[in-house]
Symmetry: C2
Subunit: 210 residues, 2 copies
């Protein structure tokens, strides 16, 4: 693939969403899907699907549809999710525990290789996923030794900035922040926030229109 043109952010987000039903279809051994059907499974309109995919070249055959496996492979390649990424998590409260056990991470080649917490009661605890909780002081060395590329912040809001700073100082370039707080980020790094209530507000909007 040659260097892509500037792709709109929503297109990038939707590509990941298109990949979800495609994975299920591959498992179900379904070979071809129309843009209409894919759009319906993803809750967007078919023209949007075609427009999004057009950014990345020719997919599918008019009147027939997309080859499911090819399309999934292409999307993963575009998103760079066709390889394993090593990630670590800071904050092993309920949310952190839920994240390391979430099947979606494993399924999509995101591999947790370290877990950190500041609570002395948590440090040293062996998790069901096989990791042992390490103190914040270990972040720098562990990130560098294991070549960790992505950090997840799942701490309390008050500790989130410190957690992110430690990760980024250690060389992590990308942080996914689950703490309900805004993080300051240096230019060289990317932070994306996960806010559970965004989806909820979307749901409420549609509920009111039912």
């Amino acid at each position: 693939m040659t260097k892509a043109p500037k792709i709109p952010e929503p297109t990038i987000e939707r590509l990941a969403i298109y990949a979800r039903p495609l994975e299920e279809l591959v498992k179900a051994k379904i070979e071809v899907i129309s843009s209409e059907k894919l759009a319906q499974m993803c809750d967007v309109n078919p023209a949007q699907v075609r427009k999004d995919l057009a950014f990345f070249g020719e997919f599918g055959v008019r009147g027939v549809g997309y080859n499911v496996e090819d399309l999934l492979r292409s999307i993963k390649k575009i998103l760079c999710s066709d390889r394993t990424w090593t990630i670590c998590i800071v904050g092993m409260g309920n949310l952190g525990m839920a994240l390391v056990d979430n099947d979606n991470f494993k399924k999509r080649n995101y591999k947790f290789v370290a877990a950190f917490d500041s609570n002395p009661e948590m440090i040293g605890r062996r998790l069901s996923c096989g990791l042992t909780v390490q103190p914040f002081d270990d972040i720098e060395k562990t990130v560098q030794t294991l070549g960790i590329e992505i950090g997840i912040v799942a701490t309390r809001p008050l500790d989130a900035q410190q957690a992110a700073d430690l990760l980024m100082d250690a060389g992590v370039k990308a942080v996914l922040n689950f703490a309900p707080t805004h993080l300051r980020t240096p230019e060289c790094c990317i932070v994306k926030n996960v806010d559970f209530t965004v989806k909820l507000e979307n749901l409420v909007y549609h509920l009111e229109k039912l």
Copy 2:
């Protein structure tokens, strides 16, 4: 507000995202914001902000910007998030525990009024939020008695469909599903899925471009 035209789904999603920094700005007593600045805070382009808001009428003054408080109030009205919603949660594992404690729900008037689990060890347990975990058998009566409008499914994947069915049979019209599995939904109900890895794939895409 008169009945709105068909609003694209991404616009609805972005409105919730615009509301986030606006809430912070209100707290910081900042009165006016330009579309450029708001766009930057939300990681979209300014033309998109203006286009999204144009669906709902006239906001802001050309060359000056938007009145922060008015804009936030209008967005909340459009999204129907300007009132309290009663919600319940099914599945009180780590994720369920994290969700009932998440500040964003409280802050945005989503009120947990009941929590359910199928695990006998969890049933009857008193949570820090004040709720007591109830068995699945209580779902119908509790949903109806308390007039619960939205259900959150945070069970293991295998139990998610049963949880959603119980909620919808009891009269819940909207379900937010955190279990990494696809749910069958009757026409009369809405289900939205939260998939943590969608944001992660977005992050990875940008990381690769750094």
